[in-house]
């Protein structure tokens, strides 16, 4: 059992939640870019979430998530003092953060929760970091102060122009590159569609582009193969070979299709829930 130490909403829309969880074994080892798997209770799924932050001394791990599926909606119902049944990790390979001069980190929506610790680690390792954080609208902007502290320049974009610059992250990235920014690497973390388009922007400029994939998985240790993705024509397991990959080599269309495989079950699952949330006992 893993205790939830604190919980807060990260934006006005209250659709992204931060939870700090007591998990000493994970906190002792985890690094930016790695993920955990939680299982809310005996009936729950195993769900991967990227580590947003950690405190080795306190033995806590911070997760940030958007309640979209049944499991994250149930997790959102829990409060400080409640317990999560299982919380395993760290899983996956950590981000490479050493040896860069200038990097652009692109985050999309709740993906910013994962992009920001990577930006922070790169920044702490001495790189000049441009962070581009994209949101649909002002009310769902998250972590503005945290991101600003973790990078050299922060650019916020909104699809509707209600905050920051109007437009997509890809527009901003392209204009920075065309304006002369020389990036050793671009890191993109967010919806698959956004990562795909970031790669399309960086490919003509030959900028190495790292993406963090979050496909459907069960165990997270290499056992099920459900998270397989095609990278450079080869099948890789995102859980053990990733979750970060060379974005220019990822078969995005396959990934996007695979991620939609359980959409019907997910929808049905939610309608079966009382008030949106399954309760036991």
């Amino acid at each position: 059992m893993y205790k939830i130490v604190s919980k807060r909403f990260l934006n006005e829309a209250k659709n992204v939640i931060e939870m700090v969880v007591e998990a000493p074994l994970v906190a002792k080892k985890c690094l930016a870019g790695q993920f955990i798997i939680f299982r809310i209770d005996e009936y729950g799924e195993r769900v991967p979430l990227t580590v947003a932050d950690y405190d080795r001394e306190k033995g806590t791990v911070t997760i940030m998530f958007q309640p979209v599926g049944g499991s994250t909606r149930m997790l959102a119902e829990l409060n400080a003092g409640d317990y999560i049944l299982d919380f395993a990790g760290p899983l996956g390979k950590p981000s490479k953060t050493e040896g860069f001069k200038r990097v652009a980190v692109v985050g999309g929506g709740v993906g910013c929760a994962i992009a920001y610790p990577v930006a922070k680690a790169l920044h702490e390792a001495g790189a000049e970091v441009d962070m581009i954080a994209g949101f649909r609208s002002r009310d769902i902007v998250i972590l503005e102060d945290e991101m600003r502290k973790s990078c050299t320049n922060l650019y916020i974009t909104t699809d509707d122009g209600s905050y920051g610059e109007k437009g997509f992250t890809t527009n901003k990235l392209k204009s920075l590159i065309e304006g002369g920014a020389k990036y050793d690497e671009v890191v993109a973390i967010g919806p698959a569609m956004m990562m795909k388009f970031v790669c399309a922007v960086t490919a003509p400029f030959d900028i190495p582009t790292v993406v963090s994939l979050n496909p459907i998985m069960i165990d997270g240790t290499g056992m099920c193969g459900g998270c397989r993705v095609t990278v450079g024509g080869k099948t890789k397991f995102a859980c053990v070979d990733g979750p970060e990959f060379n974005g220019h080599e990822v078969d995005w269309d396959e990934l996007i299709k695979r991620n939609g495989f359980y959409k019907e079950e997910e929808a049905e699952h939610i309608c079966n829930l009382t008030g949106g949330v399954r309760r036991h006992g």
């Binding site: 002792k28 080892k29 009936y43 799924e45 240790t221 290499g222 193969g225 095609t230």
Partner: protein, 462 residues
């Protein structure tokens, strides 16, 4: 006087038509009367070949003699003096290749139903609990066991019996390894696995779940924490694919994924959240026990047609005989001497068919089995909406990549000698992590031998 009936006392089973629609156990097991009757078929040979055929050397004629007397508790104690997981072994061992394969009665007629008797004794004990294990006095030495599958459980239990302070580290949320994620409920009820694990806890074994060795901590860190020896029984969890076109289409699974969704995550029960697709026509590729488990599970999930596609013939099928018979009775369609060449998808990326080529058997290969050869131009397709790849698994590379000086084979198996000693002092290994995918009982044998070697190793250091 021995019961000279040439045939085994039949073990009652659920009707195939009924059981193909439920996940309850297929084989129902002997009643007390049946067990006594079957036990009386044992000739109590002076030189018991059955025992030599058992990887963990169960004192077979002795326990059977006790069953014949109706003394089931003593029979249980005799079995558990060498086998810590009798309820599991009675159900999943390939007895026809081991004890029963050596039974003298089997030469002219049917062998004694040793597996069914072992199972009966274990089940009788579970129901009556007239004896229970107690933790022996501690000898003060700490041993870590990585993985809670059959080899890890056996190693841990054997060491605990000797007084060691044993902690098992399990990556999943539940202990049992392949016994809980792989072997289905209808063949090995999970409540039984749980009780076997509880028996080990009674012996003093501690189990830490959600602990991923190689990520949460390394083997070296276990030594730093005061463990004097480490046993690696992490299994062969990494599923192999065929590397044919279409393997990443929607509806193609590894057998591990398909079975884990059903067994560990209980996706077949409504109250559990993990989803599973109910496919109509399913192709299972492979001919091992795991392929049988996947095929029979797919049938129980409501599939109308389930095909087992295997490139050799029935004679070479590596699965346990009983499983093959059960699969046939349940209506699984064996497409033998066929090999998949590609998986075909529709416009949405979903599986729509599997293309196979016919095979014929040539000369025996290195494995001693006749080598399958493609018949040119014999390709054909079968319409399916799910494909389950069950062609084997290899060890997970996580421990290897995080443990310096641990020698492995090119296939990723840990190199260990016959008692489990690896290239690292104090580190022992056994089961599928060493052999590649094999059976529960061979993993148990390795765990047992390693426990003896660990005991010797720790004593030698004093």
């Amino acid at each position: 006087m021995a019961n000279m009936n040439p045939k085994k006392t039949p073990v009652p089973e659920q009707d195939p038509k009924v059981r193909a629609c439920n996940f309850e156990e297929v084989t129902l097991g002997y009643t007390e009367e049946m067990a006594i009757e079957e036990a009386k078929r044992c000739l109590n040979c002076k030189n018991p070949l059955c025992r030599a055929g058992c990887p963990v050397s169960v004192r077979i004629p002795e326990f059977i003699a006790k069953v014949a007397e109706g003394n089931f508790d003593e029979a249980y104690d005799i079995i558990t003096s060498t086998n810590l997981l009798p309820a599991v072994c009675g159900r999943v061992c390939p007895q026809e290749k081991q004890c029963e394969g050596k039974c003298i009665r089997g030469i002219k007629a049917e062998s004694v139903g040793i597996g069914a008797l072992e199972r009966f004794v274990a089940d009788y004990h579970r129901k009556h609990k007239n004896t229970s294990a107690t933790a022996p006095a501690s000898n003060g030495h700490k041993v870590a066991v990585v993985g809670s599958g059959p080899s890890g459980l056996t190693c841990a239990g054997s060491l605990a019996k000797l007084g060691y302070d044993v902690t098992i580290f399990e990556a999943f949320h539940k202990a049992g390894g392949v016994l809980v994620y792989g072997i289905p409920e209808f063949r090995l009820p999970k409540a039984i696995v749980q009780e076997e694990i509880d028996n080990l806890k009674d012996l003093g074994v501690k189990i830490v779940t959600n602990a991923i060795v190689g990520r949460s901590f390394s083997i070296d860190e276990l030594f730093e924490e005061g463990y004097e020896s480490v046993f690696i029984g992490s299994g062969a969890g990494l599923p192999q694919f065929m590397n044919i076109p279409g393997e990443n289409l929607l509806g193609v699974y590894s057998a591990n994924e398909y079975l884990t969704r059903i067994n560990l995550m209980k996706a077949y029960l409504d109250e559990y959240d993990t989803p599973i697709k109910r496919a109509k026509n399913v192709a299972v590729v492979g001919g091992g026990n795991v392929a049988m488990d996947a095929a029979r599970s797919a049938k129980r999930m409501g599939a109308e047609n389930v095909y087992v596609i295997y490139r050799r013939s029935m004679d070479e099928l590596p699965a346990r005989r009983e499983e093959v018979h059960h699969a046939i009775d349940e209506g699984i369609d064996f497409k033998l001497l066929n090999n998949p060449t590609q998986i075909l998808g529709d416009e949405n990326g979903h599986v729509r068919a599997i293309e196979c080529v016919q095979m014929e058997l040539g000369e025996p290969d290195a494995s001693g089995r006749r080598r399958p050869i493609e018949k040119k131009g014999s390709e054909f397709t079968i319409d399916v909406d799910a494909v389950i790849i069950s062609i084997g698994t290899i060890p997970n590379p996580l421990i290897k990549s995080t443990t310096e000086g641990l020698e492995t084979t090119p296939k990723g198996c840990i190199v260990a000698n016959e008692v489990g000693q690896t290239s690292r002092e104090g580190v022992f290994a056994g089961g599928d992590a060493v052999t590649g995918a094999a059976t529960v009982i061979l993993a148990m044998e390795a765990g047992k031998k390693a426990a003896a070697a660990i005991d010797e190793y720790i004593k030698s250091k004093q």
